[in-house]
Amino acid sequence: MIEGACVLRLTTPPANVNDVHDFIVAELDRHPDLNAMDRMVFLTALVELATNVIQHADTGFGVTCTFSLRVGHDRIEAELSDTAEDGGIKLVAREMPADELAESGRGIALIQALVDDLRYERVGDRNLWSITKNTARPGLTDVSAVS
């Protein structure tokens, strides 16, 4: 868990990716000084990660996810922990599908193109994803750390 982070726990279904999206927007809205591009890029990346987990992790019994998100003075970081089975995920640098008319297979490549760091590890009986996006807010103090 990221220290000082805001946390969302949900089980899908009935929750869906719109709930995750609303949570991220609400958290980013608490930081109006965030650069609009940084905000858009991070929102896109984290929603994409949530979509990827919800789509691929649900084995018919639903999946429980815990999101933690922290906006710091020079970066935005998030962790996503889910209860899905170990899918044997190997997180290597992905490229967009060779078939430009492919209808899937772009999610991880898109996240990697958006953020500065994407990690995955299996911890106990959970999958743990983390992403970090460096931001451009020179001169600001780390408001999250002191609030």
Binding site: V17, H21, M40, T44, E100, L101, R106, A113
Partner: protein
Amino acid sequence: MKFETSPIGDGIAAVRGVGRLNMVSAPALRETVAVALAAGRTRIVIDLSGVDFVDSSGLGALIGCLKSARQLGGDLRIAQPTAQVEMVLQLSNLDRVLKSYGSTEEAYSD
């Protein structure tokens, strides 16, 4: 998100929705376009001016609809993508496949 279809001339359907084009709304887009194609409108233009967010599920739906239209001898084009949609299209190299126009009327003016 609900999608609405407006006819343009003969054989063109403009499809518009407002909100997020994601894994929740993507099936509705596929269904809306399928209905237009079944009605003989095989040239589809998706008005994206009200779509403030797209993810890879939304991209998959757009590509699926493009393929369906082409299989019937038609095409699918997009109009007025917002900043986030343009960014995602560029990063996924789909800006080369999904041609973007300034308005739904312009999309098939050639």
